[in-house]
C-alpha cells in the first residue's frame, strides 16, 4: 500500500528522519514504535504531506505521492490523526465529524443557493453516520459539546472518530492511545481490528503501549534515530535485544533499589 524509499527529513543540521525505508502492506495493521524523538511523527508528517521531505520518495499503490498536499491524499483515501489532538475547537463534536466527508454537494457555494433539497438529504445521511460513530466511541452524550471543551482523552477519541466518517484505504494513527483510558483503548483496538477486517482499512499505528501493539500489530517496525532499527512480528520484536535496550527497558528497578539522589 505504502512504500517509503530512503526518506530523509532534516531540521537544520538535525536529521529527524535519516534514510528510512519501509513498506506497509495492504490490509495490515502495522505498528511503528521507537524511542521518543526517533522520528516517527516526522515520518508520518512527511508521508501525509504536512512536511516536505529533504529527499526520498513515498509511493501509494505504486503511485508516487511524495509532497502531495494533505487534502489530495485524503481524497486518495489516506487519513491520519495527530499526536496532539487537532480538534475544531469551536465546533460541536457532531459538527467535527460531519465536516469530514469530502463529497458533500453542500460544500460548493452555488449549490447552497440552488440545491437546498439535495443538501438536506445528504446532511441527514451524514448526521446518521456521525451519530453511529459517536455511539461507538461512547461519547454520544457530548454530541452538542464544543470540541474545545473535551477532556484530553475525549479529544483523542474524536480524532479517531473522524477517520471513521469516510471509507479510508489507509489510516495513520499517531498515538491514539496516549491519554486514553485502557478499557476504552481495548475497545478502540477492537474497532481497529473490525475496520481492518470488515472494511479493509490498512492501519499504521504509532503507540507506546506495548500491550496494544502486541495485540493488534503485525508487523511491527522499530525506528531509532531516524532509521529503521528492526522489523518483524510483535513477539519477535519484543525479544530483540536492541529494541529492549533502546526502547522497552526492563521494567521498574527502583522498587527494590535503595533511595537515590534527592531532588
Amino acid at each position: 500500500m505504502i512504500r517509503v524509499e530512503d526518506l530523509h527529513r532534516h531540521f537544520g543540521g538535525f536529521r529527524a528522519v535519516d534514510g528510512a525505508s519501509l513498506t506497509i502492506e495492504t490490509g495490515s495493521i502495522t505498528g511503528l514504535i521507537g524511542p521518543n524523538g526517533a522520528g516517527k511523527s516526522t515520518l508520518f508528517n512527511v508521508i501525509a504531506g504536512v512536511l516536505p521531505p529533504t529527499s526520498g520518495r513515498v509511493f501509494m499503490d505504486g503511485q508516487d505521492i511524495t509532497g502531495l498536499p494533505p487534502h489530495e491524499l485524503f481524497h486518495k483515501g489516506l487519513l491520519r490523526t495527530f499526536q496532539l489532538a487537532h480538534e475544531f475547537s469551536s465546533m460541536t463534536v457532531r459538527e467535527n465529524l460531519m465536516m469530514v466527508p469530502g463529497t458533500q454537494s453542500g460544500e460548493t457555494i452555488w449549490k447552497t443557493w440552488f440545491q437546498r433539497g439535495r443538501i438536506d438529504r445528504e446532511e441527514a445521511e451524514i448526521r446518521r453516520r456521525a451519530d453511529e460513530v459517536l455511539d461507538f466511541l461512547t461519547i454520544r452524550h457530548l454530541t452538542h459539546e464544543k470540541a474545545g471543551n473535551l477532556s484530553g482523552g475525549q479529544k483523542k477519541l474524536l480524532e479517531l472518530g473522524r477517520t471513521m466518517m469516510v471509507d479510508a484505504k489507509i489510516v495513520f494513527l499517531d498515538e491514539v492511545g496516549a491519554g486514553v483510558n485502557r478499557t476504552l483503548l481495548g475497545t478502540i483496538g477492537d474497532a481497529i481490528v473490525r475496520l481492518n477486517r470488515e472494511r479493509g482499512y490498512t492501519f499504521c499505528v504509532i503507540e507506546h503501549d506495548m500491550d496494544f501493539i502486541g495485540r493488534l500489530c503485525d508487523p511491527v517496525i522499530v525506528m531509532a534515530a531516524g532509521k529503521v532499527l528492526a522489523q518483524g512480528p510483535a513477539d519477535h520484536i519484543m525479544q530483540n535485544d536492541d529494541v529492549i535496550e533502546a526502547y522497552l527497558g526492563t521494567g521498574l528497578k527502583n522498587k527494590v533499589k535503595a533511595a537515590g539522589g534527592a531532588l
Binding site: 531540521f11 514504535i33 521507537g34 524511542p35 521518543n36 524523538g37 526517533a38 516517527k40 511523527s41 516526522t42 499526536q83 496532539l84 461519547i139 457530548l142 471543551n149 473535551l150 477532556s151 484530553g152 482523552g153 475525549q154 483523542k156 477519541l157 498515538e175 496516549a178 491519554g179 486514553v180 483510558n181 485502557r182 478499557t183 476504552l184 483503548l185 481495548g186 507506546h208 503501549d209 506495548m210 500491550d211 533502546a246 526502547y247 522497552l248 527497558g249 526492563t250 521494567g251 521498574l252 528497578k253 527502583n254 522498587k255 533499589k257 533511595a259 537515590g260 539522589g261 534527592a262 531532588l263
Partner: protein, 241 residues
C-alpha cells in the same frame, strides 16, 4: 510513611464541587495525600480527573469543599500563591514554553527559587538524557515524548513539597516511563507528596500508596494501589482487564 506529629494528611481536598461553566464537573470529589505518599487518580476519559487536579491547584472556582495543605486552608489562594506554598503542577497539555530553550524551561520551573539551581538541573538532565542533548533547542521543536519529559523536569525544578502530575507518561516510551516511575518513587522517598493522574494505570497503581478511581466527578473506589489492582471489577472496568 506518615509522620507521627501530623495527624492530618498533608494535602486534603474535601468534597470538591465545581466546574467550568454552569454545570458542575466535580460532584463532591475528595483527595488526600500524605507526606511522601504517592497518590494516583485513575478513571475513564472525561471523568474529571484533570478538573480535580486544577481544582486542587486553585485554577477552578469551587462551589463547595475546601483544600487544606499542611494544615492550612488554602482554598482562597491563587495558583501563584499555592506555588509559593510548595505545590508544583504539570498540566496534561500545553505544559512547556515552546519558544524557550529546554534549559530556559527548566529555569522557569525554578522561578520562585532564589538559591543555586544548577544541581537540581543536573539531576533533571540525568533523569532525562534525551532532553539533556537538546538543552539549547527550543522546546516547541521537540517530539511529543520529549516535551513530556521537559514538562516533568520543569515541575521537579520547583522542588515542591507536593508534586501534581497530570498524565506524565502520556506518549513517553516504555523505557522512559519506567525511569520516570522510578524517579517518582525516589522523589516520594525524600518526603515529597505526589498526586498524579495516570492512564498507564496498572504501572502507576503498582507504585501507588493510595489510588482513587474517579467516575463522573466523584470518588468511586478509594484504596491502596495494590488493593485496587487486585479488584477484578476495577481492573475490568477501568484498567483495561
Amino acid at each position: 510513611m506518615q509522620s507521627p506529629s501530623q495527624p492530618q494528611p498533608f494535602l486534603s481536598a474535601q468534597g470538591m464541587r465545581g466546574g467550568y461553566g454552569k454545570a458542575d464537573i466535580l460532584h463532591g470529589c475528595t483527595l488526600t495525600v500524605d507526606r511522601g505518599q504517592i497518590a494516583v487518580i485513575v478513571g475513564p476519559n472525561g471523568a474529571g480527573k484533570s478538573t480535580a487536579m486544577k481544582a486542587v491547584f486553585g485554577m477552578l472556582p469551587l462551589r463547595e469543599g475546601r483544600v487544606v495543605l499542611g494544615g492550612e486552608d488554602i482554598t482562597p489562594l491563587s495558583p501563584q500563591d499555592r506555588v509559593r506554598k510548595g505545590m508544583g503542577f504539570v498540566p496534561q497539555t500545553h505544559n512547556i514554553f515552546p519558544t524557550m530553550t529546554v534549559e530556559e524551561n527548566l529555569e522557569m520551573g525554578a522561578f520562585i527559587r532564589d538559591d543555586d539551581v544548577r544541581q537540581t538541573m543536573a539531576q533533571v538532565y540525568d533523569l532525562f538524557p534525551a532532553v539533556a542533548e537538546k538543552r539549547k533547542q527550543a522546546a516547541g521543536e521537540l517530539s511529543g515524548g520529549q516535551r513530556q519529559q521537559v514538562a516533568v523536569g520543569r515541575a521537579l525544578m520547583t522542588r515542591p513539597q507536593l508534586l501534581m502530575l497530570d498524565e506524565p507518561t502520556a506518549g513517553v516510551s516504555p523505557i522512559v516511563m519506567d525511569e520516570l516511575f522510578d524517579r517518582i518513587i525516589e522523589v516520594a522517598r525524600t518526603g515529597i507528596s505526589i498526586l498524579m493522574v495516570e492512564q498507564n494505570a496498572r504501572q502507576a497503581l503498582e507504585i501507588a500508596d493510595i489510588g482513587y478511581v474517579l467516575v463522573q466527578g466523584a470518588n468511586r473506589y478509594t484504596d491502596t494501589g495494590e488493593a485496587l489492582l487486585a479488584d477484578p471489577e476495577v481492573r475490568r472496568t477501568f484498567l483495561g482487564g
